[in-house]
Symmetry: C2
DNA sequence: CTTTAGCACTCGGGAGGACGGAGTGCTAAA
DNA sequence: TTTAGCACTCCGTCCTCCCGAGTGCTAAAG
């Protein structure tokens, strides 16, 4: 059954009031806060209805009302108004992004910091590949007889390199041949397959070629494996302790553990969703059952998505957080789209 | 005036008891704990002396005694016995390190995690260059007409690379010339000097050379600048909340802020000191006045030092933490010394 | 001069009880 | 359906009391 307009309005006011007072909301307050002249008694009847329907909760009899997860859900889905960013905030975001482009990792770390400071909750960022990551291209640069630099490019268009040294001297002339070998046989396959292929080639190669080859392949395997596991950055964990709901140390502790030691368990956004709000028990993770998460995603080139999320109490200011996060995500998408230094489109690389 | 042998012993027992009980130590307990048959009354006299001398403190009259920072200092300097690591712990450390060598950054992050879990306090790691970092060597790899990969090597022997794209096509033939130009003019100087030098060359170069050159130099400048500022990783912040002394939220909050948002303010070890213990008020940083820090350093090649530190309550188990940390640091030094993949000696690179 | 026993004293912390206030639920009237 | 009124409930706070742990001091014993 549907809610009357008045009930919806009451639910909205209750939620918003609770969001910024953190205290149960009384009928008296509502009677005043709602423009129309309604007595607190009437409100009480409505509140009783809403409670019965499961949108509100009472910490105890004779306390005011607090939104239940179901109440928050309705609020988020239907009641909440898009909050516009203040110019100041938009500028803050823009200036944070306008800085010179950096490595993907720094962008992520910095984005997290900015978001966290803007919304006053802990934030996390992650980059997830849209598909399995493999090596796309190899290059070998001569350094001296014992050393060379391996440069690998992954299918998600990250470029990584490392100086490799082997005991057996490698002459600069041999490198192009090695690179050719790599580019023809060790492209587009997993690290395990690489290792197998390497084994099968053992007999055909002299030790002086095998050694540098295996070093390069070992490195390539590492890069591929590491890109597969998405690295997560978190910032602003201290913000958590400033929230009244986390004065209770046990709760705070659980959440803090999630944010610092088990970052990988933080919620990931479904593919092709641009933003998601997870309220209390909607979270799969046990530690998040009393908390809420807002996650947004942005595009990094064609092959990767970035994730940026905020963790807070269920009493989170969803409207504000959602607005800021989506603005931020959009800005990042644009930035990565325009930018021609960081992750180029895959097509551009032959 | 010197302490009698008995006073020293009492101070030691008090400290060690307090370290693992977190509760003030009573004369009764001491009378039993010390092997010799001494009455609690005698102990009380001694305790009164030690308190007067500033080695102990009383939370309030009629509570037991607790070591003061001065007491901890004496304990650390003279009383504390080197704790040997259990085989299990040594193995844990070894196996954590024995994994395949990764990028410096991952090593640091992982080292932090291991240490934090071993000592049950938050840990931090940092890498500091011993001298100013500049670019030592450039390479440019062709990709396609609009793109090329810049590979730069810093004087601290890190190799970084990035795909650069410019609007004006660059033919593969031009790249060696550009690389030469870079290697002859833009080596060993700061990013500012690079920018100036670039300006002074403007007139001599056509636009089709200037554009890729400036991209490469901009990137090189970033790398140099970023290496200069030492990046700090922290882990295990949640451990903090498990300590009884940080049930007081305001303290916890301050420290947590330091560990998550102001990592750069964490104490750095003086050069050519291998380990340092900072007790309570000995810390410069305000937020650390009620906490203690143990920092150790290890060598990464000839040009860099790694830092690994632990933050905990003044009631920290100094003996245990110091032992683990120094073992860890030594292992890391060895590892970096042996290892021939990560940071090679500067001499090896022509 | 040092050690010990004894005892009064102090202080923190927990248990119990009283009280005020905020807020509700219900009833009866408008 | 709304409102006014009223009794009721429950939390949080404050106060008091009391217990126990631990000290400091004194005076006697070694």
């Amino acid at each position: 059954m549907d809610l009357t307009e008045r009930k919806r309005k009451i639910l909205k006011v209750v939620t918003e009031r609770y969001i910024d007072s953190a205290e149960p909301v009384s009928s008296r307050f509502l009677a005043q806060a709602m423009g129309e002249k309604i007595s607190s008694a009437t409100i009480r009847n409505e509140l009783a209805d809403l409670t019965e329907m499961g949108y509100l909760e009472q910490p105890h009899t004779s306390a005011g009302r607090v939104p239940s997860p179901k109440g928050y859900r309705l609020y988020v889905n239907e009641l909440m108004e898009q909050k516009a960013l203040s110019k100041q905030e938009a500028e803050e975001i823009n200036s944070a992004l306008s800085g010179k482009m950096r490595e993907l990792d720094s962008v992520m770390a910095e984005a997290g910091q900015v978001v966290s400071s803007i919304v006053s909750y802990p934030a996390y960022t992650a980059a997830v590949g849209k598909s399995t990551v493999t090596i796309q291209r190899y290059d070998l640069l001569p350094v001296d007889s014992g050393s060379f630099i391996a440069v690998v490019m992954t299918t998600d268009s990250r470029v990584k390199s490392r100086l490799l040294r082997c005991d057996i001297p490698v002459t600069p002339d041999e490198l192009p041949a090695l690179a050719n070998l790599l580019n023809s046989h060790f492209v587009g396959i997993s690290s395990k397959e690489m290792a197998q292929k390497l084994m099968s080639l053992t007999s055909q190669l002299g030790a002086e070629l095998f050694m540098p080859l295996s070093l390069a392949i070992e490195y390539a395997g590492e890069v591929a494996d590491r890109s597969a596991q998405n690295q997560v950055f978190t910032t602003g964990q201290a913000q958590l302790l400033r929230q009244p709901e986390f004065q209770d140390l046990t709760k705070a502790n659980e959440l803090m553990g999630l944010l610092t030691d088990q970052k990988d368990n933080l919620p990931v956004l479904d593919e092709n969703t641009s933003m998601q709000i997870l309220i209390g028990p909607e979270n799969v993770n046990e530690a998040l059952r009393d908390a809420s998460v807002v996650v947004a995603s942005y595009d990094i080139g064609d092959n990767m998505r970035g994730l940026i999320g905020v963790v807070g109490p269920t009493r989170m200011d969803y409207a504000a957080v959602a607005a800021r996060l989506s603005y931020f995500a959009e800005s990042l998408t644009k930035m990565f789209g325009k930018n021609n230094q960081l992750p180029p489109k895959e097509d551009d690389i032959p």
